[in-house]
């Protein structure tokens, strides 16, 4: 039991350390309501995207097309809203239609990824690289590279509204994380995903339909990108072909930091959530402290390598203790 939870314990310790560091650097102003609120508006985008990345990493895959899929889904939503409700007042029906269309788009992309990987046996890096280039190309064709902006107020509520003082994006993220945790922890599909990630051949011979598992994994990953799209275009009040490109590394970083093994089979949603909070605190703290955004980018890289090195050393120790 302790072993199972030791990873999350380490993460919480790191979280406490990071909080202490930021408090020392920035003083108590770091915990002002405004700062905490702005952090909880920023985190959900990356959070939902990281969930989309994480579920594919659990099957020892990867999904490079999440950003492209988010943008295309957002652009389709934006096009429908700006065409059908050009004066951008109140239009709940149009917003609902747009959201449905966006979900449909990302579901198709997810199923395409799943089909390429499960049925054609193409490696996930390659398949999702192909869809990524195609989909981001389509996004450019749809927008000609311009920004589409001006949405009805129901749409803006998704990314900027608050319920009982809690930002709506944060609630959406928590809902997604909760559902994914439920799928992974309590449902047969979750068990199959972990099994497949550990050993696809053994899973196949225990009577699991591997192809169906992969299709569902990439479908869920795709659906999560449409949720990100809703939050993102609502927060920016616009959609564009190249928003959020720097998120790709961060989703992998967050997943790895949260205990997801790049080889598949291990990792839990709770770890990912704590990792996301850590990343957000570091980024907001450095920003408040006046560190350049590019320095932060370099720092992410260092953190990613550091985490992998520590993991490698822990694994080596575990192997040695078993051997003894």
């Amino acid at each position: 039991m302790f072993r199972k939870n030791s990873e999350i314990l380490v993460l919480i310790l790191v979280l406490a350390g990071v909080l202490g560091l930021m408090l020392a650097l920035n003083g108590p102003s770091f915990f002002k309501l405004g700062n905490v609120q702005s952090m909880s508006f920023q985190m959900p985008e990356l959070g939902v995207l990281s969930l989309a990345m994480m579920i594919t990493m659990l099957t020892s895959g990867i999904n490079l097309s999440i950003i492209a899929s988010t943008n295309l889904s957002g652009i389709v939503m934006a096009l429908i809203m700006t065409k059908l409700a050009p004066d951008a007042g109140s239009a709940p029906g149009v917003v609902l239609l747009a959201l449905l269309a966006g979900v449909l788009v990302s579901a198709v992309i997810g199923l395409l990824n799943g089909w390429l990987i499960a049925y054609l046996d193409i490696s996930p890096i390659l398949a999702t690289l192909g869809t990524m280039i195609t989909v981001s190309g389509l996004a450019i064709v749809f927008t000609r590279g311009y920004v589409i902006s001006g949405f009805p107020k129901e749409m803006l509520f998704i990314g900027n509204g608050m319920i009982l003082g809690i930002p709506v994006p944060l609630l959406i993220f928590l809902a997604c994380a909760g559902i994914l945790a439920l799928i992974l922890g309590r449902m047969p599909l979750g068990t199959r995903i972990y099994l497949y990630g550990s050993n696809p051949t053994a899973t196949f011979y225990s009577g699991v339909n591997n192809k169906a598992v992969l299709m569902r994994v990439y479908l869920i990953s795709g659906l999560l990108t449409s949720v990100t799209a809703m939050i993102m275009i609502s927060r920016f009040n616009s959609a564009k072909a190249d928003y959020g490109e720097s998120y790709l590394l961060l989703t992998i970083l967050a997943s790895v930091l949260g205990g997801v093994s790049a080889a598949g089979g291990f990792g839990r949603v709770s770890g990912l959530v704590v990792a996301l909070v850590i990343l957000q605190i570091i980024s907001s703290g450095l920003n408040l402290f006046g560190v350049s955004a590019f320095m932060t980018v370099a720092l992410w890289g260092i953190v990613l390598i550091f985490v992998m090195v520590v993991k490698h050393m822990l694994e080596q120790r575990a192997i040695r203790s078993v051997a003894r």
Binding site: I62, L116, L120, D121, I122, S123, I125, L126, A127, L129, G130, T131, M132, I133, T134, V135, S136, G137, L138, I140, V141, R144, G145, L248, L249, I252, L253, V256, A262, A263, S292, F294, M295, T296, V297, A298, L299, W300, G301, I302, L304, I305, M308, V309, H312
Partner: protein, 334 residues
């Protein structure tokens, strides 16, 4: 003999290039002019040189997403030196500095991958961000230009030159010749040396290669070091061609290069791939983009077409592999 040639994957790519070329040539006969062909070769030297480095990495079973960041760093260093000590340098020293720096940065990747057993894709995404982030912080994203005149003169050297109908000179650029030299070097290493064969072995199965007595560390250092070398050379080529060094000019190029290598038949799982295939992969993308321009297709369609061609060719490759393995099963069953 003929069957042996036609059954190769490279032949398939060649046929696709040929079909594309004929279609483009029918719509716009300018495509087949020697000037246009030489132009395509010169404009794709950069992708071509990067692709040779990437091919070797991919054959070894790895991947490198950081080489554009490495190239940006070496390009910047060279540019700074050119601006400060321009009169004391010559073209060989410039290439040498970029090559050495690139190789070292590539070997850093190899060390991280080897010693900490980090998957190459994660390790190189991380180093890409470190290299690139630090570079922008240090240089503050400035563009550098105004290099010495000898640096501009070198790129204008032509092996042979001709004059077109409008009295404009064209010819085989020295830059293209440098690319050809590296194509030969890549082919020689992979085909004619023990080192090349051991890289294939490493990509086929790392565990087997290790048990067979190969020094994995030395191989990885070579593979990623060579990628860094190509990045360094490529950065000088880029500086020569555009006479400007900008921090963001190579961003996103890594995907084009991987696409070219994969289109050329290399497998991302390692152990498979040829220099000929990679050159054809580069040419396929080059002909496509040139053709779209000549056919007056708006440039924003280019990415969709590229992605689509990649998906189709990868899917076709997967079908072909499956058909072959099915045939094998039938033979074994008989």
């Amino acid at each position: 003999m003929i069957k042996k040639i036609t059954s190769r994957y490279e032949f398939l790519v060649f046929m696709v290039i040929l079909i594309f070329s004929i279609i483009i040539g029918l719509i716009n006969p300018n495509f087949f002019s020697l000037e246009n062909i030489l132009d395509i070769l010169q404009n794709n030297t950069l992708t071509g040189i990067f692709a040779i480095g990437m091919l070797i990495v991919v054959i070894s079973g790895g991947i490198d997403l950081s080489f554009t960041a490495i190239a940006t760093i070496t390009g910047y260093t060279v540019a700074v030196l050119l601006l400060s000590h321009g009169s004391q340098l010559n073209i060989f020293v410039v290439f040498l500095i970029a090559a050495v720096m690139g190789t070292i940065l590539g070997m850093v990747n190899a060390s991280i991958i080897y010693f900490f057993k980090i998957p190459p894709i994660i390790a190189t995404i991380a180093t890409q961000n470190i290299y690139y982030g630090l570079l922008v912080v240090i240089t503050q994203g400035k563009w550098l230009y105004g290099f010495p005149s000898w640096f501009g003169a070198f790129v204008k050297i032509k092996i042979f030159s001709l004059v077109n109908a409008n009295d404009v000179k064209y010819g085989l650029s020295i830059v293209t010749v440098i690319w050809f030299a590296f194509i030969f070097l890549g082919w020689f290493i992979l085909r004619k040396t023990v080192l090349g064969r051991s890289i294939y072995a490493l990509g086929g199965s790392e565990a087997s290669a290790q048990r067979a007595g190969f020094n994995i560390l030395r191989l990885q250092l070579f593979v990623y070091g060579f990628m860094g070398l190509m990045a360094g050379i490529g950065s000088v080529i880029q500086a020569l061609l555009v006479q400007t060094v900008a921090p963001n000019s190579l961003v996103g190029k890594e995907l084009d290069v991987i696409a070219a290598v994969v289109l050329g038949g290399a497998s991302l799982t390692g152990g498979v791939g040829t220099v000929l295939g990679t050159v054809l992969g580069v040419l396929l993308l080059a002909v496509m983009s040139n053709g779209l321009t000549l056919m007056h297709v708006p440039s924003y369609w280019y990415k969709v077409v590229t992605g689509f061609v990649i998906l189709v060719s990868v899917a076709a490759g997967a079908w072909r592999k499956r058909a072959i393995s099915n045939k094998k099963v039938i033979i074994e069953a008989e």
